[in-house]
Structures are given as C-alpha cells and as structure tokens.
C-alpha cells in the first residue's frame, strides 16, 4: 500500500498530466483505522472498525475552483477523480477570491503518537468496557471506548508537502440508577490514559447521587459547570464565534480588540496538544493561537481564503469542505487558572476515594465550595443556536444537576431547559472561578478535541423545568 505522501504526490502528478502546468492543485490524503466498542444495558451491543483511505483534491484552473474526494485509490480511481474535478472546474464561474496555495513551508512532522494505542484491538477496548461496567457496581451502564490512528499527508503543485500521524483514544460512559444518569468522559492520544474502572466508578457515584431529584423553578442561578458542560460552550464559541467565515460575514459576535469576556478568560486553540495531525487541510502548520487573552478577543480562526478576505494570514485552521463551513478552531481550550502540571492525566477525573459525592473531581469541588446557593451542572445537551450573532443558545442539562447551598451539595435537581447567550455568560464580571485542570474531550471520530476545566458563572438562564 502506498504511503499517504506517495499517494498525494501521485495525485499531483496526474493533475499536471491532465490539467497542464498551469493548474494549481492541493491534495490531502489520509489513511485511518478507527474502531469503536459500544455498550448499553451493561453489555457490548455494537462493535465496529474500519480502515479507510481518503483523497481530497482542490483544483484551481483558469481562475476557477472545484473540489473532489474519493476513497477509490487505484490508478483508475485517481485518474477518474482528477478528470471529473478538471471537468467540473471548467464549468465553474470565476473565483476571484482564490487565495493561492500554501508555499513551501517548514512544518514539524510527527504528531501525538502512541504505538500501544495504534495496535489496540477489540480485546483491549472490551477490557476497558468490562472495567467500566464492573465498577459501576451493578448499575446499568452504557457508552463507548474507541481507538484510532491516522496517517496523513499533504502536497500541492507549489512544491509544498508535509506528512504526519496521530493516535487517539476516548471513553465516554454513563451509569444509570433509578432514572438518574451519571457520566464520565475523557480523551487522550494514549489508550493507557483511560481507566475504565475510574470512569465507571465516577459515573456510578454521580448516578446514585442523582436519584429522586426535586423540581426547582426556572430562573437565573449561579452555576458551576463541570468540564463536560464547559466543552459545549467551547464548541459553540468555536463554531459560531471564532469561525473566520462567520466573522467576515458579520454573523459572529467576535470583535477583535474588545474586552468581550471576563478578564479571567483566555481561550487558546492548540492542535499540537491534541490527538490530531500537525497541519491543516491547506497544508499550513498548526500552532497555538490565542483567540481570547485575559478577556480581550484577539483574533478569529482563518484559512487562506477567509484570511485574504480579512486582510490577514491563515491561522492554520482550514478544514475539509471549508468553503461551506468556514475555518473552525476545533481544538479550543479554556486556559486553567494556573498552568496545569503537564499533559492530561487520568487522575483529573478523580475516583470516589478522592472526592465524595457527585462532584466530578477536586478541581470542581473547590469551585462548588465557593457557591452560596446555586447549581452544579454536569452536562449540556442538544444545544442549538437561536441567533448566531448574539449566540443565544437553547439546550438542556443532562447527566446530573444538584442544588448547592453554602458550599455543599444538598439535593439532586431535575433537568432544566436553558436559553442563554454564551458570550454574556462569560462577560466581564460574570466569571467567578475557573478550575486548575482541563479535561480533554471529543466527539466520536471527529477531529474536534476540547480542553475544558470546570467553570463557576454568576448567572445561567434556566427557562423551563421538567414539566415544561
């Protein structure tokens, strides 16, 4: 099997043959082995793996642009991809916004890689699932354990090429008790960082503490959001706020140079610290980008096209299909109060011996202890944007909400619906505390990895309860 870099070079060669020397082309190739073992009702019910090679081609010819992709990597398949993309580009209207290709640039090759994770099979994933289920202590358990490896390459007709590889692993599970669910979630580039017994124990403690919830009236409450909930804030801020296309179209709240957030808020997108390849879909090197510094919005994420429109440079955030969705900072992290002591450690989701009760870890417990009266929120669910510019979002709490009085968790609370502007929730004066240890989390098989510590906010607008 050809390496991704060889394959990318082969596609570039075919482009030159078919389209001539005047064509500008960029080719991304990826070979990925991804596997996911899923469990529900405390047994493995879905268990899958795939091995997939993908070619992505973007072609600019005679002032026009078209893209194509294929999983067919034979010589005929490559030629077919190139020929139909060339045919498509000839029918396209002019593309005056074509930003040109990434010039030859030094990009540190490599990526976060772990041999053990790359070699993990269904037996290793099943073992972690078994640990999760057993330590759930007889509670019904559900979730997944996944592993993956990616080998990627990029080449363009300007002579730029780069290659890299990465591994990834994640566990996400709930335990269920009397109608209450508790969750534990963690991601890493090393499967060895994931302990099914720690995660299962944490989920079960939360579930047991969530039994017999009371219904509280809707309204504004002070809250501590655990890392699982904070990840949702990061996802929506990244997608709608720090997206260069949304910014250029004035659909984003972001105003660089303005104090839009509390001084304690620093948001950094750092792909190099996540289980992803070290270059973006345009072959640009990835580097940490400080989007918000001490509450001041500094920039938004750009690919070459949005950067050209905005009169700036790419920040290395091009994504496949980016013309439609725009560049999104998919590795956004909320900087902890003090620098963490190192990479993400499994102990950041503490076992029940370290923290009693439903609070996820000692970090969140420290914020809960400061709460005179408010709510501890584990997770946010099904969040949807009512208006992208104000970033008013509606959604629900999930996997455990508790009333906190005088720094102590007093009772489980039924889930709420909320309708809340995310930038307003983080506005100057609204952030009362940020944890010390971020937890890395990811959606299944996506390239988005959020790094979130717990967060204490002065107000969260709960607009409905369980009964409507």
């Amino acid at each position: 099997m050809a390496s991704p870099l060889d394959l990318a070079g082969r596609v570039v060669d075919v482009v030159r043959q078919v389209a001539g020397p005047g064509a500008e082309a960029e080719v991304g190739t990826e070979y990925a082995e991804l596997a996911l073992t899923r469990f529900a009702n405390s047994f493995i019910h879905q268990n899958m793996a795939d091995a997939l090679t993908t070619i992505r081609l973007r072609l600019h010819l005679d002032g026009r642009t078209a893209t194509g992709s294929s999983t067919v990597v034979s010589a005929d398949g490559v030629r077919d991809l190139v020929e139909r993309t060339v045919a498509a580009v000839r029918h396209c209207p002019p593309d005056p916004g074509w930003p040109g290709l990434t010039p030859p640039t030094a990009v540190a090759e490599g990526g976060n890689w772990d041999e053990e994770t790359a070699a993990a099979g269904p037996e290793q994933r099943a073992e972690r699932v078994r640990e999760f289920v057993e330590t759930a202590g007889g509670l019904e358990a559900a979730g997944y354990c996944r592993t993956g490896q990616r080998h990627g390459a990029f080449a363009n007709t300007a002579g730029h090429s780069v290659t890299g590889r990465s591994t990834e692993a994640a566990m996400d599970g709930i335990a269920r008790c009397g109608g209450a669910d508790g969750v534990a979630r963690l991601g890493s580039f090393r499967l060895a960082d994931l302990f099914g017994n720690v995660l299962g124990a944490r989920a079960s403690v939360k579930a047991r503490a969530g039994v017999a919830p009371v219904e509280l009236p809707p309204g504004r409450y002070e809250v501590v959001l655990e890392p699982t909930a904070v990840a949702d804030l990061l996802q929506n801020l990244a997608t709608y706020g720090f997206n260069g296309k949304a910014y250029n179209e004035q659909r984003s709240f972001a105003v660089p140079g303005e104090q839009q957030f509390d001084r304690s808020v620093t948001l950094v997108d750092d792909a190099l610290a996540r289980p992803v390849l070290p270059f973006d879909a345009e072959g640009a090197r990835r580097a940490p980008v400080r989007l918000v510094e001490h509450g001041v919005t500094r920039t938004v994420a750009h690919d070459r096209r949005t950067a050209a429109e905005a009169g700036t440079s790419s920040t290395g955030h091009a994504v496949p299909g980016g013309a439609a969705v725009g560049p999104v900072p998919l590795h956004l992290g909320l900087a902890p109060t003090t620098a963490p002591s190192g990479a993400t450690r499994p102990g950041e989701i503490s076992g029940p011996a370290e923290v009693s009760g439903p609070v996820v870890d000692a970090d969140a417990a420290a914020l809960v202890a400061q709460l005179r009266r408010g709510l501890l929120v584990t997770d946010l669910w099904y969040t949807r944007v009512l208006d992208p510019r104000s970033l008013v979002v509606t959604g629900l709490t999930r996997n455990g909400v508790w009333l906190v009085e005088d720094g102590e968790v007093t009772t489980a609370v039924q889930n709420f619906r909320f309708t809340q502007s995310y930038p307003q929730a983080l506005a100057p004066g609204a952030v009362l505390g940020i944890g010390r240890h971020p937890v890395v989390q990811s959606h299944t098989f996506s390239n988005a990895w959020w790094s979130a510590p717990p967060l204490r906010l002065a107000s969260w607008n709960f607009t409905g309860g369980a009964s409507g």
Partner: protein, 478 residues
C-alpha cells in the same frame, strides 16, 4: 455481478471464522454539491466513495468491519475481521441475540428519477444558484445563499440467510436563504425550508421548486423581520406551518418511537424514549386527529427505499392511530429482543457504518381542514413557520423550537409579522392539544438526521401539513 461475488465472499469468510450469521453491503456512492453566495458560486464538490461493510454475529456478540477495497481477497479479510470483533464482544456479552425471522428476499429496486441529476450540466446548475442568490441580494439580503446536493447510491446486499438484493437510489434537493444583519442579531428567511427540500428523485425535484421565483420574497421578509416586533411571551394558540410540523414530527414522534432508543441501546448518547413498550397499543400519544404512519413506500419521499439495510422489504405500517401509539421503528435484532413482529427500519450512512434503526418516512396523514380555515377559526394566536432552531431532551419529551417567522392571528385573520418566534412544550401534552389539522400535506425531506456512535447522518421523510395547538408557551428568550 462482481459486487454480489465480493459480498458473498465476505459473508462466507465470516461464517468460516465462526459467525452464526453474517451479512455484507457493497456500496458505491457519488455525491455532488454546489453552494452559492450573493450571486457567485462559493464551492463545487464531487465526491466518490466505495467499499464493503460486513456484519457478523458470533454467539450473542456483534462485530462490524469495513474496507474500501472491493477485491474478493479484501472482502474475505473483512469478513474474518468482523467475526473477530464479534468474538471480542463476547467478553461482555448480553442475552442471546436472535433475529426476527424474515423470508430471504431477492430483488432489485430503483427510486423514481425522470432527470438524472448528475447528467445536468454543472453550468446549468450554477446558473440557477447564481440567479436565485443574486435576486435575493438585489432585494435586500445582506447574505444570500443557495445550495443543492445530489446523492447517487448503488448497493448490493447479501446475507447468510439467502438475501440477495441490489438497489439504486438517487436523491436530489436544493434550497435558498436570505440573511439580513440587524442590531446585534440576524434575521433569516429560507425557501422552501430551512435546509431546502429533498427527495428520492432526480433533478426534476429541484426544477419544481422554482427557487428564483421565491428569491425576492425571502429577502424582503428577512429585512422586514429586522424591525418587526418580538413574538410576545406567554401561553397562546399556536398554528404551525407544514415545514415546521415536519421537524416537530421528526423530533418528538420519529425519534421517540425508535425501538433501539426504547430498549436503551442509545442511552449514553442520542438518549432513550419516554415511551415504554408496555404502553404499546394503549398509550394516548395525541389527539384523535393524530394518525402517524411509517411508510418507506412513498414514491419520491426522502426516506423511501425498496429494502432496508437488513434486506427487509419496504412496507407501510401505523405508528399512531387516532392518537394511540401502536407501532415502532425497528430492526430484526431489536424486534426479536422486544418480542415484536415487525422490522424494516434499519439503515446505515454509507458502507463504513453499522446499520441501525433509522426513520424512514414518518409523517401525519392529512387532516380535514386547510390552513386558511385554521386561521379563520382562530380568535387569538400566533402562526409560525420555517424552522430556525431545534432542541429536545434525551427522552424526546421537553422540546423548544425557534422559527424564522411568525404572525399574529387575531379574529380569524393573519396580522403583523413577529420576529424571533419560539415555542416550547412537552411532547404528549402538545400533541394532545392538536385540535385542527390541514389536508395540505407535503412530504418534507430531512437530509441531516444525526444518530449513533460513530455518528451517522440519515435521510428521512416527513409528510406534514399545517396544524393548530392550544395553550402553548411561546416567546421564550435568553
């Protein structure tokens, strides 16, 4: 055919490796999309994907493996790998898995297609989007966008129980939207719905939409919305347009009646359901006007097929009859676990994903009224249409929807326009309050239904018509 040979080799390899049951799907899909913005083409993409996915059952454990290589040797390896994964599932095995017995089907099926959508010149398609978005821009849109999408899918299915099926499904659709920047917020109007209209049809579906004819109107409405009064907050009579009704059905009925959710198989992610199997046949889901069918046989609707991805032939059945819950969306394994006698609603998002319970066409049968009659019969209420946001809890009970546009309804007449209309409720309470239903049914297509881990995008259809609901909370804001 070679594809059947490849699938057969994969199934045999899984059996040889210890599987008691195996099936394989060879798929080849071409996808084409084009997007336009403000009278210019923004992107054109043509994608191709081909491969085989093999499912194996060893003891009571399932395994699935997929590769893009369509050689018989690669297929055999895929079959062996699927069996190995299934054996690993046995390390934490559940109760014995069985499959609902169904006759082994053989056959071919193609969706109706008058105009092959991939044969229409790109220049013609581009002209359409340029013209429509250009018109919107000229009539006041700050951001005029248009999009079409085409999927051309061929698949070959073989099972160890004797299934041998091939299908050719072509799906097409398009839509336009106009966004106007207001004071700290945006207003948007779309046509024909918030993501466009889609179906298992050829380019004739896109032609029938006549996008350009609606381009000016949506721009003017979006601009008018910027200065329109806010939708008032409170409890009132709510009239929903047909497009919003389609999403209301999708979220609060379609997902709720998925048997895998009811059985807890999606508990950790998509969620469960407020429905309990003990209530099947007796539970009052909604008012007597509520008749919901599961019907993958509707010609041209987006959720239509000849056979599902387990080889079960398409068949119409009731989900809700005169307000009572009577049916589920099921697969062969979930039906066997639940002791039900029907399957036929299992599909996968491509060859590299595991087939799972998915909506087909889940929709309301027509009612006795028209939208004009509903408005005329309403003294005080709000009419809302075209979805803008949607959110519902993990049991499919507590929902909140936002629409692009609303209107006051006073004394039987449609009044002034309202901006940022939202409504919220609890599923069964809401459906029981439906007291008028239109006969003006459209089979709306939803091409973006997310479910499963790893995530899968499903294509579903929803016959829906305008309807009226009593005592609904509207005007929820942040």
């Amino acid at each position: 055919m070679a594809e059947f040979d490849v699938a057969t080799a994969a199934v045999q390899a899984a059996l040889d490796a210890g599987a008691g049951y195996a099936d394989a799907r060879v798929m080849h899909r071409r996808y084409e999309s084009m997007a336009a913005r403000n009278g210019e083409i923004e992107s054109v993409s043509q994608d191709e994907s081909a491969g085989i996915g093999v499912r194996a059952l060893v003891g009571s454990g399932w395994g699935f493996y997929a590769v893009p290589d369509l050689s018989e040797s690669a297929a055999r390896v895929a079959g062996e790998r699927a069996a190995r994964i299934a054996a690993a599932s046995g390390r934490l095995a559940g109760p014995g898995s069985t499959l609902l017995p169904v006759p082994a089907s053989s056959g071919s099926w193609s969706s109706p297609c008058a105009v092959d959508p991939l044969s229409v010149p790109l220049s013609d398609k581009g002209d359409l989007l340029v013209r429509a978005t250009g018109t919107s821009r000229e009539h006041g849109a700050d951001l005029a966008e248009g999009l079409y999408q085409i999927w051309d899918t061929r698949k070959w299915f073989v099972s160890s129980q004797g299934h041998r099926i091939d299908q050719h499904i072509r799906e097409s659709g398009a839509g336009i939207s106009a966004t106007v920047l207001g004071d700290g917020e945006t207003q948007r109007r779309s046509y024909p719905s918030h993501r466009g209209q889609y179906g298992t049809q050829g380019w004739e579906l896109v032609d029938s939409l006549d996008l350009t004819a609606h381009a000016a109107r949506i721009a003017e409405e979006a601009r008018e919305l910027v200065t329109a009064p806010l939708c008032p907050a409170g409890e009132t009579t709510l009239i929903l347009g047909g497009e919003q009704m389609a999403l209301q059905i999708h979220e609060s009925v379609g997902h709720a009646i998925e048997l895998d959710r009811i059985l807890g198989w999606e508990a950790a992610f998509a969620g469960t359901s407020w429905l309990d199997l003990d209530q099947l046949g007796g539970l009052r889901y909604g008012s007597e006007l509520m008749n919901v069918t599961i019907d993958p046989t509707i010609p041209g609707a987006l959720g239509s097929f000849g056979f599902d991805d387990e080889g079960t032939p398409a068949a119409k059945r009731d989900a809700v009859r005169e307000g009572r819950w009577v049916g589920t969306l099921a697969g062969r394994d979930s039906a066997a676990v639940a002791g039900l006698d029907h399957a036929g609603s299992v599909r996968a998002d491509g060859w590299a994903r595991l087939p799972m319970v998915r909506m087909t066409n889940v929709g309301l049968e027509p009612g006795p009224h028209t939208l004009d009659e509903i408005i005329a019969a309403t003294d005080d209420g709000v009419l809302m249409d075209t979805n803008r946001s949607w959110s519902i809890d993990d049991k499919r009970l507590n929902f909140q929807f936002g629409c692009e546009i609303g209107w006051e309804v006073r004394n039987g007449r449609r009044g002034r326009m309202l901006r940022n209309p939202t409504y919220t409720g609890i599923g069964p309470q809401f459906w029981r309050s439906m007291d008028m239903l239109s006969s003006e049914t459209v089979a709306w297509g939803t091409p973006n239904c997310g479910k499963g881990q790893p995530g899968q995008i499903g294509h579903t259809g929803h016959p829906a018509a305008p309807a009226r609901f009593r005592n609904v909370r509207v005007g929820v804001r942040g």
